[in-house]
């Protein structure tokens, strides 16, 4: 138990302060929502430390001090003590009041209410990726959410299949994505950055591979991203590899599931209209580079167990895949 106290105090103090190398640390809040949770947690944590020290000290003292020794008289058969019983019923109750009051206050301040000009983002969980829609901006994208810094954002969360849970720890607590139901969280990010998160509710084979990113941009960068997303997809130059790729895409099964504006209307998989501008693929699993794209197209389930994008039958040739990769990368 001594080892414990060492852990609790030194490690906790060290961890509570820093979040640098921990991209999903709940100790490094970067929004009002995450900060509220963090403050509340620290409050309760220190109460817990006090209670822990009191109880474990009493316990340790008792088992050391009252060890049986030869020759010591048999103990008095005490059966109880009414005043003591009342005291240690009231003491935890009083401490809990100090926990309950800030708890209820924080529940209401983090209930998801936002000013009317908040940016609205709809999140749809899919097995095993995230779809993001910006209803006021007419944008649909996947896995990487962009939001402006310092502005209220309301996230409306639902699911297209099973229950998921949307969680970007540094921006706030998780909310479940439940089919047939919309849940809300609201946050105002206070610093720019590329924040990672992942699905927190077990949702099947690749639950562990259902990651996400939230990119908090400066206003101008966010506006530039919005303008890019709203633009029509880039047309590959004539006779380029990318153009061949577009042909392969248009005659393959890809079009059944994916949307590329003006090319295909599929809605089962992620929207690929501007896939070239994303930094990662496969729900945050891999960097968006030629090698990973090629492996992903060739055999997605080997990279992400259970992925619905099965191996193409008949398989695509290496040349086809290279062309497809070039085309997808051109979709900035």
């Amino acid at each position: 138990m001594l080892r414990y106290r060492w852990w609790l105090t030194s490690v906790a103090l060290w961890l509570l302060g820093c979040g640098g190398p921990y991209p999903q640390s709940t100790f490094a809040p970067r929004s009002d929502f995450a900060r509220a949770s963090d403050v509340l947690f620290r409050d309760i944590f220190w109460w817990a430390v006090v209670v822990f020290i009191v109880l474990e000290t009493l316990l340790l003292f008792a088992i050391i001090r009252f060890r049986h020794r030869e020759g010591r008289a048999e103990p008095k058969p005490t059966h109880g003590h009414t005043i003591l019983e009342i005291a240690w019923t009231l003491a935890p109750a009083v401490i809990l009041v100090f926990v309950a009051v800030p708890t209820v206050r924080t529940i209401f301040t983090t209930a998801g209410d936002v000013p009317p000009d908040a940016l609205k983002v709809e999140v749809v969980g899919h097995q095993w990726w995230w779809e993001y829609k910006y209803p006021d901006l007419g944008i649909t994208t996947a896995n990487e959410m962009h939001v402006p810094v310092g502005k209220s954002v309301q996230v409306a969360i639902t699911s297209a299949d099973v229950i998921h849970s949307f969680w970007a720890p540094v921006l706030g607590g998780k909310r479940d994505a439940i089919p047939g139901r919309v849940n809300y969280i609201a946050f105002r990010a206070d610093s720019t950055g590329d924040y990672s998160g992942q699905c927190a509710e077990f949702c099947g084979a690749s639950h562990g591979n259902m990651r996400l990113r939230v990119l908090v941009d400066r206003d101008s960068a966010f506006q530039a991203w919005v303008d890019d997303e709203k633009a029509a997809p880039a047309l590959p130059p004539k006779a380029s590899l990318a153009e061949q790729g577009k042909t392969v895409y248009s005659r393959s099964a890809c079009i059944g599931c994916h949307t590329i504006q003006g090319v295909s209307p599929g809605i089962i998989g992620p929207n690929l209209t501007h896939v070239g501008s994303r930094t990662t693929i496969a729900a945050g699993l891999f960097p968006n580079d030629s090698a990973h794209l090629a492996r992903w197209i060739a055999d997605a389930p080997s990279l992400k167990p259970g992925a619905l994008m099965t191996r193409m039958q008949p398989p695509l040739t290496d040349a086809d895949i290279a062309a497809l990769v070039a085309y997808l990368q051109s979709l900035k």
Binding site: L15, Y22, Q24, S25, T26, A34, A36, S37, L40, F41, F45, A48, V51, F52, L58, L59, A62, I63, F66, R67, H68, E74, P77, T78, H79, G80, E85, W88, T89, P92, A93, L96, V99, A100, T103, V104, T106, T110, V162, I163, P169, K174, I178, P179, G180, R181, N183, Y184, S196, G197, Q198, A200, E201, F202, C203, G204, A205, H207, G208, P305
Partner: protein, 596 residues
């Protein structure tokens, strides 16, 4: 062999429960070790995602339903009739039926590991894989087409029957078969906590049964209890499951609290401090356990009012729990403490349960819990409660009652090794999980990236898990060694206050040669109010009728897995075989000449 298959003796059934449950405990432990080996380093690939999901599902299901509950049941069976001065339980054949149903259910669930080929799949392919909590709608046929979930829901239905039958049996036993003079407020604390547990079982298991029947109808008959497209909601499952699931937590912990409340007084040579308060707080915990289920669902979005109410009720439950802890410490206070292995485990229980309780308070607060739920922080919490709590408590009971149950003492030296290895192991395994979770690692993920920064903590946790494995090996060796070389136990190796210590170890088949008359709460101790009672004579003064064995509980129990097999293979005629077996067994059982 025949005498074990047909036995209706509560002591033999207790031993059967013990060995079966301990076997499942080892299986569940091996599953845990594979899980920890997979997570020892980032991007681990010891097992596939699909196998991992089966492993954590079966680990949870096994530990809750096949290890911890039946290990408690083993003590209920063996100890309660002895503590209340009875010859057996109220319904000995129903007791045998409970055991056989439990065995069938456990084997049925675990058969899923190896029966893949029957379903055109590989071995290790059709075990349940949606978590021990089995959230709808992932468990619907649409998302889980294989037999995995069928194994789970049918297995749990079978196990529920076992728990319910045992629950009614023990309630009647405790209320009706008490020795003369043993008023309710003279019941040993373990029996009291067991009684509360049985009431929780008979009220909570019907809820999960209903939930499972809905799921069964959804999967087999195309109903839509959990399908939102048909106007229902998958949240119905979560409400039903946790309405069962939270009382279930108390079903798991109350027996261990009862054991600790027996062990501490015996080894500090002092009566339990505040006995009535400990009993009433147990009852209060049982009641309040029904009003907190939505704290498992703070991320579901029930709205600020519901969240506030459930936060308050959850915090409130910390009060009676805290009262128990104070009373245990006060029991030790001023005692003459003998540091036996049983006492080590009982004190370990208190020390670890404090941590589990305190982390519980941190996620009673919804805004804080939104960062904690479904992360390793909660994994840490439940293992401090269920491993640091229940398993420590159960081991206290094992070391305490082993001499009574087997007639031999376990080695105290090996016992200390066992305790310290397990104590250090569990803290290494589970304490870092608090940080792993708060640093952003969700639970139930089969792998994680190195960029999360939790690789070292996970490695420490894995080392701790294997230390626990080593501790259990020491215990296995202790059991084996002392079964051959152990010191024979006297009637009362510890100087206990309760009736089980007044008779030989192991007790004769009739338990008490003369049913004792009890005058106080601590019948075998001298108190200011009464002298210790006389132990019953070694030879019964009059012949005692002992009921013989019966085959029919076993036959009836076998009908249930046959019916489950029918559902699993979708073959109608097998259903009738199962029903016929069950009815035949019950019919013969009902008309069998059998006197208690």
């Amino acid at each position: 062999m025949k005498s074990w298959l047909t036995t209706t003796d509560h002591k033999r059934i207790g031993l059967l429960y013990f060995w079966t449950a301990f076997g499942f405990f080892l299986i569940g432990g091996i599953e845990a070790l594979v899980i920890r080996a997979q997570l020892a380093q980032p991007n681990g690939h010891l097992v596939s995602a699909e196998t991992y999901n089966q492993l954590f599902t079966m680990h949870g299901t096994t530990m809750v339903f096949l290890a911890l509950m039946p290990l408690s049941a083993s003590f209920f069976n063996y100890i309660i009739p002895l503590q209340i001065g009875a010859r057996d339980v109220a319904f000995p054949r129903l007791n045998a039926f409970s055991y056989w149903v439990f065995l069938c259910g456990g084997l049925f669930l675990n058969a899923s590991w190896v029966t893949g080929p029957l379903f055109h799949a590989g071995i290790l392919n059709v075990a349940p894989d949606a978590g021990w909590f089995g959230y709808a709608n992932l468990t619907e046929r649409q998302f889980s087409p294989g037999p995995n979930i069928d194994f789970w829901l049918l297995g749990l239905q079978i196990l529920g029957i076992s728990s319910l039958a045992a629950g009614f049996n023990f309630i009647v036993t405790i209320l009706n078969l008490r020795a003369p003079g043993m008023k309710m407020m003279r019941l040993p604390t373990f029996t009291w906590m067991a009684l509360i547990t049985q009431f929780l079982i008979i009220t909570a298991f019907p809820v999960i049964t209903v939930a499972l029947v809905f799921l069964m109808f959804d999967r087999f008959f195309g109903t839509h209890f959990y399908v939102h497209e048909a106007g229902a909601t998958p949240l119905l499952w979560q409400h039903l499951f946790w309405l069962f699931g939270h009382p279930e937590v108390y079903i798991l912990i109350l027996p261990a609290m009862g054991i600790v409340s027996e062990v501490l007084p015996t080894f500090s040579r002092k009566p339990l401090f505040g006995y009535p308060v400990v009993v009433y707080s147990g009852i209060l915990i049982g009641f309040m356990g029904w009003g907190v289920w939505s704290h498992h669902m703070f991320a579901v979005g029930l709205g600020p009012i519901a969240d506030s109410v459930f936060a308050a009720t959850t915090m409130l439950i910390a009060v009676p729990t805290g009262v128990k802890i104070f009373n245990w410490i006060a029991t030790l206070w001023g005692g003459a403490i003998r540091g036996t292995t049983a006492l080590h485990f009982a004190v370990g229980f208190i020390a670890m349960f404090i941590i589990g309780g305190l982390s519980g308070v941190t996620h009673a607060s919804p805004p804080a819990d939104l960062q904690q739920t479904d992360t390793y922080y909660v994994v840490a919490h439940i293992h401090y409660v269920l491993f640091g709590g229940t398993i420590m408590g159960l081991f206290a009971g094992i070391y305490y009652w082993w001499p009574k149950m087997t007639g031999r003492l376990l080695s105290e030296a090996l016992g200390k090794w066992h305790f310290w290895l397990q104590f250090v192991g569990m803290n290494l395994a589970f304490f870092p999980m608090h940080f792993i979770g708060l640093l952003g690692m969700p639970r139930r993920i089969y792998t994680y990236g190195p960029e999360l920064g939790v690789s070292d903590l996970n490695l420490v946790s894995t080392v701790g898990a294997f230390l626990i494995g080593l501790a259990i090996l020491v215990f296995l060796f202790n059991m084996w060694w002392t079964s051959r070389r152990g010191r024979p136990a006297s009637n009362d190796p510890w100087g206990g206050a309760t009736l089980e210590w007044s008779i030989p170890s192991p007790p004769p088949v009739y338990n008490f040669s003369v049913i004792p008359t009890v005058a106080g709460r601590l019948p075998r101790w001298r108190t200011e109010r009464h002298e210790p009672i006389q132990d019953p004579p070694a030879v019964p003064p009059a012949p005692i009728h002992v009921p013989g064995g019966s085959w029919w509980p076993l036959v009836a129990a076998l009908g249930l897995p046959v019916m489950a097999l029918a559902a699993l293979t979708q073959t109608m005629w097998v259903v009738f075989v199962g029903v016929a077996l069950l009815l035949f067994g019950i019919y013969r059982w009902a008309f069998e000449p059998f006197e208690v």
